[in-house]
Symmetry: C2
Amino acid sequence: MPSPSEAARQYSRAQAETFQAELFEMLRIPSLSGDPAHADDMRRMADWLADHMRQIGLTNVAAMPTAGYPVVYGEWLGAGPDKPTVLVYGHYDVVPALLEDGWDTPPFEPAVKGGKVYARGATDNKGQLFIHVKALEAYLKTAGSAPVNVKFLIEGEEEVSSPNLTPFIKAHLDLLKADVCVISDTSMRTIDEPAITHSLRGMTYIEIELEGPKEDLHSGLWGGAAHNPALALAEILGKLYNPDHTIAVPGFYDDVVPLTPAERTMIAKTDLSEAQYRQATGVPALWGDARYTIRERISARPTLDINGLWSGWSGPGPKTIVPARAGAKLSSRLVGNQDPDRIYQLLKTYIEAITPPTVKVEVRLLTTGKPALIPFDLPEMQAAARAFEKGWGHAPVFTRGGGSIPVVADIYDLMKIPVVMMGYGLDTDGLHSPNEHYSLEMFQRGIETAIVYLEELAELPR
Amino acid sequence: MPSPSEAARQYSRAQAETFQAELFEMLRIPSLSGDPAHADDMRRMADWLADHMRQIGLTNVAAMPTAGYPVVYGEWLGAGPDKPTVLVYGHYDVVPALLEDGWDTPPFEPAVKGGKVYARGATDNKGQLFIHVKALEAYLKTAGSAPVNVKFLIEGEEEVSSPNLTPFIKAHLDLLKADVCVISDTSMRTIDEPAITHSLRGMTYIEIELEGPKEDLHSGLWGGAAHNPALALAEILGKLYNPDHTIAVPGFYDDVVPLTPAERTMIAKTDLSEAQYRQATGVPALWGDARYTIRERISARPTLDINGLWSGWSGPGPKTIVPARAGAKLSSRLVGNQDPDRIYQLLKTYIEAITPPTVKVEVRLLTTGKPALIPFDLPEMQAAARAFEKGWGHAPVFTRGGGSIPVVADIYDLMKIPVVMMGYGLDTDGLHSPNEHYSLEMFQRGIETAIVYLEELAELPR
């Protein structure tokens, strides 16, 4: 007779087609948290998840209201108080996607090609969060119980930096009480190199807007004596970096914890070659702070990126105006111990200081998220490493993630429990890009690894 | 019994409401030459004009095909070969307008408020070109004839810099043969200060686009080692100007004819104060080359403006990407004797030279137009001055226009006839801006001045 985890794994293989079909249902819902036009889709997505959790046997399930979009909560506590409780975090929201951005197929109509499903949210985060739902289902449908208690915390605002999650966690510390938190929202380089992420970058995201004339001016009648706001914006943005590609904002690097030689050695294990980076991204040449390796630049060092620009006329043909306004979205990826609010103040002060009196500037804070750094010698981390060995078939490396999952710092700080980031995505999945996709083989291996991890956690000394 | 011109003027006053209603019909047609989605409207506008010309008694009327939009031609040659022939130029196309740009009323639903009609094209150029149609009609409906022969050349591509007009003129020099060309597509400072424009700026309009990654990248996974194309664009655009607000493109000023002290004295007569410029445009402070007065900067000196910027995400909320592309529309207003094609080469060479190897750049030429400078002591110019005195009620000043009407240089060069720019607009009409409008009083005074001008031309020694 197979062990409970082996029986659950067998069940997950037998049910693979059903599990995939259920995932595709999720992917068809355009749950864009950043665009108010999709508010109904967000509610539909939350309800779908809650209904699904009830169907597979979770209790106390609810789409719990917040000041923004609801948090979907559900639990299975049948293992009893003597067993550990795992809190699974995920997010049901996605970033925008339009066919004309360069998608080969409509972003909210899942298309399977070459063993991958193409859709917005396929890897980030619907596919990965669903792995844990299906792992629990596999135990419940075979043994009738799981080796540990499981709670789900699935939010709908991760892609807008989780403005309402910290208050939610603070208000529900008892409900969410757990011994370890597991999150699958990170990625590995290749299918044979699983990775556990022990560090994430934080974020300060701002929007700046310049105003010159009260309305667009005819450039022939008025041009030559008005400071063009688009030019002024370019002049300001052109001063964000020093010639050596370090960020020119005074004080920006003050709180960055220097990388130790030991850390750099560990990071070097997963470094990218220039050719690999160019191949993956398509850039004609590398760029950045030459004192750091590529992997360090994209995971262990802070950044300041322009995420969007707009001014005047960008449609077809010419339009001869001095635009009234010009704007940019800017975001900084932060590392320990940079404080997102302080970075906002530094950015605002600098931008205001270099804005000439010929235009008016407004600097608006959109979102913030703290960076996180978690020791990888904790037992819950090592249990995750064993789960990868047994369930995935390869031992993982511990890596720093360049992305931001604001909840990680919050859970680690507020709940005082380890956060284990077992990423089941690939670096090349195209998350946030056109043609985002997710490997169906990795979906299956992820479910099996998650099944094994629950068993490994049950065996930890308490 | 009133003179023919007096009878025509009386008729124009009696018919004022009808004339206005006809103008509003034109204004309801969204004839945007720069947007292919409006191709049908362009055809509808050309047909409307041709039909109208036939109705009032013009002959040989046709919407004549070009490689782009048709040229509407019509003539009345009843004055006979002993009398001069006037060629009236105008354009039936308009620049884009969207209600959400800041219009108080829909831009293609003419609204009369405070004696002005608000609509895209009201002053530029439908209202002004229609003045000449109505002036001729007034003669034909009263005396049964006009004092001079009249030909109309109304194009549909002025707002996209008339790419097909030069070939059209070259191919139809006999058809268009005339003694003088009159154009009403310029403006005066106040209703009591009519102006005849004897100089116009030319134009070189380009679009530049940078490409970095092959598609938008997740800024957390890849940010820090890719040169953000929006940043690279800002860095390039930030190098267009020197700190003293002169244009940094090498060779840009080489062919500019210096202003003489006499010209500067004439220009000073219509100078603007800093307060007037700020009041008209709403800018918080003046800007530009401090060696020149405001009027010189906006009419007699070349410019380089950013007309549009685009990159990445400009919708609501944050999106954490390194954009794949960033672009800008740039246009330069040129003065004698700058050559638009040479300026394009200088811009392209400079931009390519300052683009770093971390991104790819493409510089595309959209349109060009030559600058024009016409002596104001010609008899046809002086006849126009008398027409303003008699028909408008005020003697005009001769001024330089900051805008570009490419046909002026073409007609002057190709047809070897004087081009008289009798502008019937106001500087504050808001052309190319939201809430463009046209004074109905000026529409009426324009018709009467145009009536008198035909009589003045008939009396010139031949």
